[in-house]
């Protein structure tokens, strides 16, 4: 028996053909799409699902503009391939907030946490991840958590101040 067939029939392994059907959840809505297994998640989000709130910039995991949550974990959507999201849950900036702003969005508005806004989607996702792990981050914690998110306007002061205000609200210093 060809091992490929064996893999298909064997419950301990699955074989995905070069064009695959993916089922996954984005912002609590289920999607099924057909794509190449190595297609980038960032392209799936922006081009196939029209969720263009997630930005693309460097494409190599250096700038954080494309940050999303994958099963609750912060990831760079430019370095996640299609087959890696099969069956998983993704949260993009469109899934943050609703009729009213999320508290992180509110803090960015109140404290001047954005300038041109290009990095803001990724920043807010990274802050959501930080606060989920540590509701009262210090300035050092904030800088460490946002080290992978670059702001070309260099507006870091307002961003750090935004997160500090949330930390204080949660009882931090």
């Amino acid at each position: 028996m060809d091992l490929n067939n064996e893999v298909l029939e064997n419950p301990i392994a699955t074989n995905i053909e070069p064009m695959i059907k993916l089922t996954f959840t984005v912002n609590e809505e289920q999607y099924e799409i057909q794509t190449s297994p190595t297609e980038k998640l960032i392209h799936i989000l922006r081009e196939q699902l029209n969720l263009a709130g997630t930005k693309i910039s460097c494409g190599i995991g250096r700038c954080g503009a494309c940050s999303v949550l994958l099963d609750g974990e912060l990831v760079n959507a430019c370095l996640v391939m299609a087959y890696q999201v099969n069956g998983k849950s993704i949260t993009t900036i469109e899934g943050i907030g609703g009729v009213t702003f999320d508290e992180v969005q509110e803090a960015f508005l109140t404290e001047g946490g954005f300038q041109c806004g290009y990095c803001t989607s990724g920043m807010i996702i990274a802050v959501k991840y930080l606060l989920a792990l540590n509701p009262t981050p210090t300035e050092t914690d904030i800088k460490e958590a946002l080290a992978g998110n670059l702001c070309r306007c260099t507006g870091y002061g307002g961003i750090i101040r935004s997160v500090q205000s949330l930390s204080a609200k949660n009882g931090g210093i």
Partner: protein, 300 residues
């Protein structure tokens, strides 16, 4: 960059997703050099964008949960880390949190979002990962497996021999002497920015002396960036067996700069890397003595 992404995406490999180590090895045996083990694939994707061939088959290890385990082995005195443990696991893993120096080393690698995808095994198997010098300094062992055997070897021997071709890296074993790990070990990464950045170089070391101030163990390793990871064995030989107060730091500095064959690129010269490495290593070794709570008469 989008065009580059599209260009490697033209060729679509077949993705094989085994759920056991044995099945992964069986698939590798079947497809040989046409298949490559992957997990997060954060480094591999960048290499594919830069023109490296994408294999016909990717054997994804992500569903092999036992390779994500982190465990103490009290009998052996070892910390065992599964190869596909994400670099960012130090944030949530209660065992890794017990070892601040390991956590600190992991925080220097890539960015938080990448660390949630990139794995410790991937950083090693890439051959130039920032973690390799740290593992060399700690006398870490690597466990490889193929269909015939489980092969446990020192990270240093693996780096020199590369006899594991086709084998699956399953575990990283670190000697579990907490006192040595936290009190006699250092790890420093130098880049062009204060926060997340590619390395210019990474140095790591360990030094321990007995009650009579005789240096009984020393390991010094360099890597990072384009530098091939290596241990400075001549420098180690120069130091070991001496008493702390006998160390001539100027000579040690000179030995390091002679022994370290540093990479050179358009931005950083080899000489600069040598000087940075020697300064860091001498400063860190001196710091180990000064923090010992006993002034051992370090000779400057």
């Amino acid at each position: 960059m989008a065009n580059q992404v599209d260009s490697w995406n033209v060729k679509s490999p077949i993705i094989l997703i085994p759920t056991t180590i044995e099945k992964a090895i069986e698939l590798k045996k079947q497809y040989g050099s046409e298949a490559e083990f992957v997990s997060g694939a954060t480094l591999l994707q960048l290499q594919w964008m830069n023109g490296r061939n994408i294999p016909d088959y990717l054997i994804s290890l992500e569903q092999i949960t036992e390779l994500k385990s982190v465990q103490f082995d009290l009998q052996k005195g070892e910390l065992s880390i599964g190869a596909i443990t994400p670099l960012g696991s130090y944030l949530t893993n209660t065992i890794l949190k017990e070892f601040p120096i390991i956590c600190n080393a992991l925080t220097t690698i890539a960015a938080p979002g990448v660390r949630n995808r990139g794995t410790i095994g991937g950083n090693i198997m890439g051959g130039i990962g920032d973690l390799i010098p740290f593992l060399l300094a700690l006398n870490a062992k690597l466990v490889f497996q193929d269909e015939k055997q489980v092969n446990e070897m020192m990270a240093w021997d693996w780096l020199n021999q590369s006899t594991n071709k086709g084998q699956l890296l399953t575990y990283i074993l670190i000697p579990l002497d907490k006192d040595i790990l936290e009190n006699y070990t250092f790890y420093r990464k130098i880049g062009r920015r204060e926060t997340f950045t590619a390395a210019i170089l990474t140095v790591s070391g360990k030094i321990k002396w007995d009650e009579s101030s005789n240096i009984v163990d020393v390991k010094i390793a360099i890597g990072g960036g384009d530098n091939k990871p290596l241990r400075l064995e001549k420098t180690e030989q120069f130091i070991i067996g001496k008493k702390g107060e006998e160390l001539d730091w100027k000579t040690i500095y000179s030995v390091i700069t002679q022994e370290f064959i540093a990479a050179e690129d358009a931005f950083v010269t080899s000489n600069y890397r040598k000087k940075v490495a020697a300064n860091l290593i001498v400063a860190e070794l001196q710091s180990q003595f000064s923090q010992s709570g006993n002034n051992r008469g370090v000779k400057l």
